[in-house]
């Protein structure tokens, strides 16, 4: 079937900026509701066979991610400092292809728990942070979590964890086969009286909706899936959106400003096409799903006379409260080969320490999983005491298949000074002002990560590791979970979007991605972002039908 295309002179119902975890879903929901939709994606559209098993390309050469050479960012840890680009990498990393970061994610699909939505009410204020409740509850989002699991496809074992939040349906697919790291993690944790369980993953364990089961190639995080077993939007919801005949996915379309009229309404988007030629696409409404870094940057770069501080920014909250998911880990060596380069990256997780416990003396909670990295990434560093070159280093390299990692994934507190804004000098290869990142961990985030390192060490000790290397907890200087920068809330004075993802300031401008999240959750935000997107798509379509956009 020929793909639908629209002329820029046509006024489409919706422009969706971004084709990732949220954008693909919002586009599908709006198109299925009968709306004309153009999805703008700044990266190219690649066929599945074009993705390679090339660790250098994807992990070191920005193969499908935002390239610091053309899309630079600056960083500082203190607002009083002058920010500067970081050599060789960008602080905030995301995939720049059709499918967005859902193309290269690890595919860990954790639901938030009930507590995530109401922590401020339960715990009270935390000094130095701006912890607030969400304007929605877990119960309101639960149907959409289920929708993600069945529409996108998630493998897992419902009810296996005593800490699972309530759910209305099981997973549609059984868990992926366990790998050695999962067995050892489970062994160690059970010995300590903990409750590890099969990891819920957006990776097909069996054929699902016409997509292949996982071939266990071992290259999930950082890579796109060439057999389409991973639940990336480019293989799941985007083809379904296009199948409506109402949706165009416009690749290599870099949106740099939202058009506004004198009445304070969005009129469309200004973008550069593949030839770097400026274009304007008209629309009745705009939904920005560009991720937690690019969404605030686009709003701030869209400042006009009547929106001098950036679009939808009367609260001043656009770009603020940047959160990642800080965590602590430990690597461990065992006596026999694990071969962690084989098999989906994660097969066992644990949520015993999910809730924040005031008895620890600091805020923070999280989950743990057993995982590994590709050999090229692993070989870059050595444990303390191991020679970094020479025969001792060679011996270490020869031990690669005997290692695994227990990784903690935890909370990052919302802090007003942690933010994305516009660098006053730096510009990208298109001449668009670049983003400036300011970030310093809240002290509780550091303490919690250190606490997680201790727990990871305990688990690997109980599993019988012959060598354990505690992870080092340093100051965060970047991340891939880009959260909180256009937070959702009922009060227009303190939040950017309402609970339906409509901006408080511009009636026909909606935002939905990691930027909407009010708290960071415990480490794996994508399923929540997708649940929010299904919910947002449903409500925005209702607004459109009622002529309320």
């Amino acid at each position: 079937m020929a793909r639908k295309t629209y002329r820029t002179s046509e006024t489409v119902d919706f422009i969706v900026v971004g084709s990732g975890a949220a954008g693909g879903i919002v586009a599908r929901e709006l198109a299925r509701a009968g709306n004309s939709v153009v999805v703008m994606e700044q990266g190219p559209r690649l066929a599945s066979h074009e993705f390679e098993h090339d660790e250098l390309k994807y992990r070191f050469l920005s193969g499908i991610t935002n390239d610091p050479a053309t899309s630079p960012q600056s960083f500082r840890s203190d607002p009083a400092q002058k920010a500067a680009p970081v050599a060789g990498r960008n602080p905030l990393t995301y995939a720049k292809v059709v499918g967005g970061s859902s193309s290269h994610f690890n595919a860990n699909f954790w639901r938030l728990h009930e507590i995530d939505f109401i922590e401020r009410s339960r715990l009270g204020a935390i000094a130095g942070a701006d912890l607030v409740d969400w304007p929605i509850t877990y119960a309101e989002l639960e149907p959409y979590y289920t929708k993600v699991e069945w529409e996108v496809g998630v493998s897992g074992l419902a009810g296996a964890s005593p800490f699972d939040p309530p759910r209305s349906k099981p997973y549609p697919m059984p868990p992926l086969p366990v790998k050695a790291s999962g067995v050892l993690f489970e062994r160690g944790a059970r010995k300590l009286g903990l409750h590890p369980f099969p990891a819920p993953m957006a990776i097909n364990s069996v054929e699902y909706k016409g997509r292949s089961p996982c071939i266990q190639c071992g290259l999930c995080g950082g890579f796109a899936c060439e057999v389409e077993a991973k639940g990336s939007s480019v293989w799941t919801v985007i083809p379904e959106a296009e199948a409506t005949g109402k949706c165009e996915v416009r690749a290599n379309a870099y949106v740099f400003r939202i058009g506004m009229n004198k009445a304070g309404r969005a009129t469309g988007v200004h973008y550069f096409d593949r030839d770097k030629k400026e274009q304007f696409q008209k629309a009745r409404a705009v939904v920005v799903c560009a991720n937690g870094s690019e969404t605030p940057r686009l709003l701030l770069n869209s400042a006009t006379g009547s929106f001098a501080q950036g679009l939808a920014n009367s609260s001043g909250a656009v770009g603020k409260y940047l959160m990642f998911n800080k965590g602590g880990s430990a690597a461990a060596r065992f006596d026999k080969p694990l071969n962690e380069y084989k098999g989906a990256n994660v097969t066992r997780i644990m949520h015993d320490y999910y809730d924040s416990d005031p008895k620890r003396g600091f805020y923070g909670g999280g989950g743990f999983d057993a995982r590994s990295g590709g050999p090229l990434t692993w070989g870059q560093s050595v444990p303390k005491g191991t020679p970094s070159w020479g025969p001792g280093f060679k011996e270490y390299l020869e031990s690669y298949t005997y290692w695994m990692t227990v990784a903690g994934h935890g909370t990052s507190l919302a802090v007003e000074t942690n933010r994305v804004d516009i660098d006053p000098e730096l510009k990208d290869a298109w001449g668009v002002p670049a983003m400036r990142v300011t970030y310093k961990d809240h002290p509780d985030d550091i303490k919690h990560a250190e606490w997680q390192v201790e727990r990871a060490v305990e688990i690997m000790g109980a599993a019988g590791a012959s060598q354990i290397v505690p992870g080092e907890v340093g100051n965060t200087s970047g991340g891939v979970h880009l959260l909180g920068t256009c937070r959702m809330g009922n009060d227009p004075r303190t939040s950017v979007v309402d609970k339906y993802h409509r901006t408080h300031d511009v009636k026909n401008l909606f935002l939905c991605d990691g930027s909407s999240m009010v708290t960071s959750g415990r480490g794996q935000p994508t399923q929540t972002i997708e649940a929010l997107a299904f919910r947002a798509g449903e409500f925005i379509a209702k607004f459109a039908r009622a002529n309320e956009i």
């Binding site: 599945s48 066979h49 993705f51 390679e52 098993h53 090339d54 660790e55 250098l56 050479a69 074992l157 419902a158 009810g159 296996a160 964890s161 005593p162 759910r167 209305s168 349906k169 099981p170 997973y171 059984p174 086969p177 366990v178 790998k179 050695a180 067995v183 489970e186 409750h195 099969p198 364990s205 069996v206 292949s212 089961p213 996982c214 071939i215 266990q216 190639c217 071992g218 060439e226 057999v227 389409e228 077993a229 065992f334 080969p337 694990l338 071969n339 084989k342 050999p375 090229l376 070989g379 870059q380 970094s388 070159w389 020479g390 280093f393 060679k394 390299l397 020869e398 690669y400 298949t401």
Partner: protein, 205 residues
């Protein structure tokens, strides 16, 4: 909530406990088809066979340093993996922006070594002299850069120049294949299946 019956639950948990054989039997046709059509081989990308960026003298010294970082011996090291071809290729293309500072560091390294050793190049020195010298300079940015490039060249795909005949992967114990089947390692071979916790009721669709 959909709560399955006890017997159905038992069956479904058994499904969730699928051991290696069961999972493969259930999925093998689809997996084999997908793997066949995945198209991720680098077999058609011929690695570079000439040095295009570094001069012969530069390449000799860099190869000697790389050879001390991952030495030859009973198993191949950086030299046998032809890491120098990766480094030359990298500095002439995707890491080209680093070439000026790399060359500056190399000139300082070579100059200091020659001055201390009667004008002799590093590559011509004995292993003992090379190792002693590298211990003195292994915190310098230049050495760190060579080390990083050596490890990358050892493990990156052969199409980039190093990891010749997958010598680097062989060293690490990584088999060259595109898809795998459980069991993957020693510890998952006899995994008995996931045992539910008291009070939980695992269930699947």
């Amino acid at each position: 909530m959909e709560l399955p019956t006890a017997s159905r639950r038992k069956f479904l948990v058994a499904i969730a406990n699928l051991g290696s054989t069961g999972w493969i039997a259930m999925n093998w046709p689809q997996i084999a088809y997908a793997a066949q059509h995945g198209g991720h081989s680098d077999a058609n990308d011929a690695p570079p066979t000439r040095l295009n960026t570094l001069s012969p003298a530069e390449a000799a010294d860099i190869e000697a340093i790389a050879g001390q970082i991952v030495p030859s011996g009973k198993t191949p090291g950086a030299k046998e993996a032809r890491v120098i071809y990766f480094i030359d290729n990298a500095l002439g293309s995707f890491f080209g922006a680093q070439l000026p500072s790399f060359r500056q560091g190399m000139a300082e390294f070579q100059g200091r070594f020659a001055k201390a050793h009667g004008g002799k190049p590093f590559a011509a020195a004995s292993d003992a002299i090379q190792i002693a010298w590298l211990h003195d300079v292994d915190r310098t940015p230049f050495f760190m850069a060579v080390r990083r490039l050596t490890v990358l060249g050892l493990i990156a795909l052969p199409k980039y120049g190093g990891n010749s005949d997958y010598a680097g992967w062989n060293l690490l114990g990584v088999e060259n294949n595109h898809s795998w089947m459980p069991p993957f390692g020693f510890y998952d071979t006899d995994y008995p299946g996931f045992e539910p916790y008291p009070g939980t009721k695992p269930y699947t669709a």
